[in-house]
Symmetry: C2
Subunit: 303 residues, 2 copies
C-alpha cells in the first residue's frame, strides 16, 4: 500500500532562490492529495514530474500567501488543460471568496466543478473518509485561523496465507470473506478458523502535517503516535522570541513535539529565508530527536 509524501516547497513567507513556499504532494495508493499550494507550486510539479491533473483533493492550511498563492494559477491551468472531473478543496471559508473574485475579474468559468469543505480552526473534524484514508483537521495556534491535516491510513484486510488455502482447496470466491476475517466451512462441514488462514495486515500508518503554529500542547494528543510527523521549524531556538512573536516553532521545539507525541519520524520544514543552509536546523532537531529529516524539495519520504 503506497503512502508517501513529496516535498514541493519548504520555504516560509519570503522565498529564496531555489526554495519555494510550502506545498506537498501526498500519494496514497495512487490517489494524490495536495497539501498547501504556495506560489510556484505548478513549476515545482513540472520540475519533479508530478502531473497536476492527478490531484482531486487540495488542502489549504490557512490564508497566509505562502500557503495558497499558487492555487488560482493551478486551478486556471487545470481548466485550460481540459479538466472536467470535480476538484475538492478543504480550506478556510474565505478562500472561496478570494478565488471567486479572481475568476470573476478574469471572466473565467471553470470547466470543472469545485466542491469546497470549509475547515474549522477551533475543532478537529473528519473531512475525508474513503477506502484508503481518514483525514482530519488539526486546529493549530497561528496568527490567523490555521489547521494542519492528519492522514490516517485505513486498516487493510487480513493477508491470506495462500499456500494454506491452496492446500485445503478453498475456492477463490471465498477469499474476500476470509480476508475480512470470516472462517471457512468446507463442503464436508469441517470449519477452518480464520486465524489458520490469514495473518493480520500491517498496522495503519499516519501522517501529521503541522504548519504553521506556535508550540502549543493543544494538538499533541491528536497527533500522538504518528508514523511521520511533518512539523514546521521556521527558526533556530536562539530565535525563540521571534518564533513566539510570529506564532512559529523552532527546530528544537519541533523535535520536542516529536518526542512528546511519540512520533516515529520527524520531518521539518517552512524554513526562514535567513537560513541559506539548513544543517544547523537539522542538527538542533536531531540533538533531541535523532529520527529527524529535512523537508528538501523534490525528495519523497515513504511513510
Amino acid at each position: 500500500m503506497k503512502f508517501e509524501v513529496t516535498i514541493l516547497g519548504s520555504s516560509s513567507a519570503t522565498p529564496i532562490y531555489n526554495r519555494n513556499p510550502t506545498s506537498q504532494a501526498l500519494n496514497i495508493n495512487d490517489r494524490w492529495y495536495l497539501i498547501d499550494c504556495g506560489e510556484g507550486t505548478q513549476q515545482q510539479m513540472l520540475r519533479f514530474d508530478i502531473k497536476a491533473s492527478r490531484f482531486d483533493h487540495i488542502f489549504i492550511s490557512h490564508l497566509h500567501g505562502d500557503h495558497y498563492l499558487g492555487l488560482v494559477g493551478l486551478l486556471s491551468s487545470m481548466h485550460l488543460n481540459g479538466r472536467n472531473k470535480v476538484l475538492k478543496i478543504y480550506c478556510p471559508e474565505h478562500l472561496k471568496e478570494i478565488i471567486d473574485l479572481q475568476l470573476k475579474y478574469s471572466e473565467t468559468t471553470l470547466q470543472y466543478p469545485i466542491e469546497y469543505k470549509f475547515t474549522n480552526a477551533v475543532k478537529a473534524e473528519v473531512i475525508v473518509d474513503n477506502e484508503d484514508v481518514i483525514i482530519e483537521t488539526i486546529p493549530l495556534d497561528h496568527r490567523i485561523a490555521c489547521t494542519g491535516f492528519l492522514f490516517r491510513q485505513k486498516k487493510r484486510l487480513r493477508k491470506l496465507i495462500k499456500e494454506k488455502l491452496e492446500e485445503i482447496g478453498i475456492p477463490i470466491e471465498y477469499y474476500t470473506s476470509i480476508k475480512k476475517g470470516k472462517d471457512y466451512t468446507a463442503p464436508d462441514g469441517k470449519v477452518y478458523n480464520n486465524s489458520l488462514l490469514t495473518i493480520d495486515s500491517d498496522q495503519p500508518k499516519t501522517y501529521s502535517y503541522c504548519s504553521d503554529t506556535l508550540y502549543n500542547e493543544m494538538y499533541f494528543d491528536q497527533i500522538s503516535n504518528t508514523t511521520l510527523l511533518y512539523h514546521e521549524a521556521t527558526f533556530l531556538h536562539n530565535m525563540l522570541d521571534r518564533a513566539k512573536e510570529t506564532h512559529h516553532t523552532t527546530a528544537l521545539q519541533a523535535a520536542e513535539i516529536a518526542v512528546k507525541t511519540n512520533s516515529q519520524k520527524l520531518l521539518i520544514g517552512h524554513f526562514s529565508a535567513r537560513y541559506k543552509k539548513l544543517d544547523e536546523l537539522l542538527e538542533e532537531a536531531q540533538s533531541v530527536f535523532p529520527e529527524t529529516e529535512l523537508a528538501i524539495e523534490g525528495k519523497t519520504f515513504v511513510i
Copy 2:
C-alpha cells in the same frame, strides 16, 4: 543614458518547466519599472539577481492570472523585507479589490503605502511623466480590459563640445544653461552661438509593450516608430483561428505590426505552452521582419 529591459517571464497562460508567465524589468537610468508580474516573478528576480526593493513602479496590463498572480507575494515580501517607501501600481481598477481582499484575510497591514493609478482600457493616457520618461497606456484588444505600456525616453539636454568651451574659457557655471540651448556672451561682449558650443543629444528612444491583444490596427499609430517593440506572439500563424478566438496574435502578425509601425526592432514573447522550442516562432517572424528576437528569460535587451 541606460534604457534596457530584462525578461523575467515569457510564457502564456499555462507555464512549462523553466518558462514562466509574463514579467519584465525595465531599467531607465537605474530607476526600475516592473511590467506585469506573473506567478513566480519573485523567484525569477532572485534567479537573475534583480532586487525587488528597486522597483517603485509596477504596471499590470490586465487581470488574467498569468500577468498578475505573482504580485501579492511580491508585495508581501517587500513588506517583510522592511520596505517603507511608496510603491506605485498602474493597473485595472479591480486589482486593488483583489489585493485588498487577500491582505484582509491574511491580516496584513503593509508597512509602506501603495498609490494606485487605474488604467483606462479605452483611451490612451499619460500615467507617468518624470525627468527620464513619459509612460502612456496603450489600449489593446483582448478578451478583458487590457492595456499595453509605451515608454518614451525624455529628450536629453544638448551635449557640450568640451574642447571648444575650454578654448573659449567659458566658466563651468554657464554649462547648464548652454546644455539647455542658450548662447554664451563673453565678458568682452562677444556672443558665441549655441550651435558652436554643443551638439544635439541622441534621439529619444521608445519601448512599446503590447501584451495581450488581437491583431487590431487601433493601436498602430500610437506605437509607430518604436525603437524596440515587444509584441506578444502566442501562436504560429497556422493557428490563426485559435489566435482570433482567444484574442491573441501570431508570430507572423507580430512581425507585420513591426513593419507597419516602422519599428526598429521586434521582441516576441508570451509563447503558448505547446511550443517547447521557439525556433519556428522566431523564423516565422523573421521571414517578415528580420530584426526580431525572442524574449528569452534572463536576457537583457538594450533599447
